[in-house]
Symmetry: C2
Subunit: 277 residues, 2 copies
């Protein structure tokens, strides 16, 4: 009789990147992982996600993520980091977190998060999802060579796919709409959503159709979906839309939305990005 043994399964790359070790009150240890590498350092979205995860892991946590601001103060070096996560104030229905990510003596990121206990109330959408073909009708894009983190996603561009750099004149806008999900497939949760909210190539590449060094300075993501709504979305693709707002004096603004496939807004995000001329 042959013995069948299942190999111990490796964790999902997102879960591996979000794994934190408690190091004492308000302190967590983590590390960058190769699958989430960007051109320099890790993908910003994974840094945002792991900062949120620290609050989620904290024993004093109340409620679910509502807002997250991450300020990328300096470059994240490959390797270990520590996160300081402390509840600055806990109310009946909201909790305010002060977060920071450190490597050695350097503050690498500062962040804040708001968690909330949601309850059913009058509700209404206002912004509506753009009309796009369903994910199944859109081709899966081939990731860009050299952008390792993009291999962690299945992307189906409805508009504004990877830009043809050096392709010619500037474009009048920088819109992207894509169906996206984690690879391997993984049910959506708040850290995954925070990462997806940053999963757009820089808008300045599209407008100018050329590459220039860039770096996100600050990103704020509002999370509209509670854990039940995220679980209902499961591992199916979400629609992620982004566009530039203004490019000026070395900084541009990007706004983004992430929609569930039933047309509900899951997250909304705004970021300011440094660019070199």
């Amino acid at each position: 009789m042959t013995e069948t043994r299942s190999l111990p399964s490796a964790p999902h790359p997102l879960d591996a990147a979000l794994a934190l070790d408690p190091l004492g009150e308000h302190r967590f240890g983590g590390r960058t992982t190769a699958p989430w590498a960007n051109m320099v350092g890790p993908f910003g979205g994974i840094t945002a996600a792991v900062l949120l995860q620290a609050a989620l892991d904290h024993p004093a946590r109340l409620g679910d993520p509502l807002a997250l601001t991450v300020n990328f103060a300096g470059p994240v070096a490959d390797g270990a980091f520590e996160i300081d996560a402390r509840p600055a104030r806990t109310n009946r229905a909201t909790q305010h977190w002060s977060l920071s990510l450190h490597q050695g003596d350097h503050v690498v990121s500062t962040a804040s998060a708001v968690f909330a206990v949601r309850r059913d109330t009058w509700a209404a959408p206002e912004l509506t999802m753009p009309e796009v073909p369903p994910a199944a009708e859109v081709a899966v894009a081939t990731p860009r060579a050299g952008i390792e983190w993009a291999n962690r996603y299945e992307m189906r561009f409805v508009e504004g796919g990877w830009p043809d750099l050096d392709a010619g004149d500037e474009l009048p806008h920088s819109r992207t709409a894509m169906w996206i999900r984690d690879l391997p497939e993984r049910p959506l949760d708040a850290p995954a959503l925070a990462a997806i909210s940053d999963a757009f190539y820089p808008r300045v590449f599209r407008r100018r159709r050329r590459f220039t060094p860039i770096g996100t300075v600050s990103i704020t993501t509002l999370i509209h979906a509670d854990p039940r709504a995220l679980a209902a979305q499961g591992a199916r693709p979400v629609l992620a839309c982004a566009r530039g707002v203004r490019f000026s004096q070395g900084f541009f603004e990007q706004r983004a939305e992430v929609w569930g496939d039933d047309g509900t807004l899951l997250a909304s995000s705004i970021q300011i990005v440094y660019y070199r001329d």
Copy 2:
């Protein structure tokens, strides 16, 4: 011969609210002022402005405001407060600030700001200002009784003026566009712009045409205009536009833009607001 004497002029109400006393390294003392009272506590925009002012006043400050996130962790009581403002990291062209506002033993607000040294680069608008009549052609609105801070502004509503509460059915959207400036007239600067970015009545009042208790939980404002551009705008009205994005489970998102009268985007803002059913 009659003697004419000019009375010592009182400071502008905005400058009075932004006046901070240095209390030692990274610490500033301030106080709420009656002209900026909201229905309960001070107008959120003035709290955002004074937090930004603390970083502006700090002797280690580098560059000019680029991004500001303020988390309203608890109610601000009328009276004195202290602001802790410390540079978390200073780079060559950006500086990251950790800020908090305290009353007694309570953390009332946490905040972060990014300052930047701007330089001329390739630049382009993308979002464009809505087409509206010039300020001079729009009537000045009568402020609402009981909302003292609104008297600190001249507001000319192009769309979405003070809502008729209890006027009937829900509205399908919650857009407001108004020409606005400080009263008395005062040249625009970054703290004034941060305050104006929050100078909209709650979107849920307009959608539902009824009053419910609300409170901003977190606001992020990106400042696109450098001090020279703000000075060029001077004391002329700016166009401030806001709309709701999604209302769900006791929280709604508002997005806003503030435009110069030459059509350039001065600031962009996103906030999440608690509402009671």
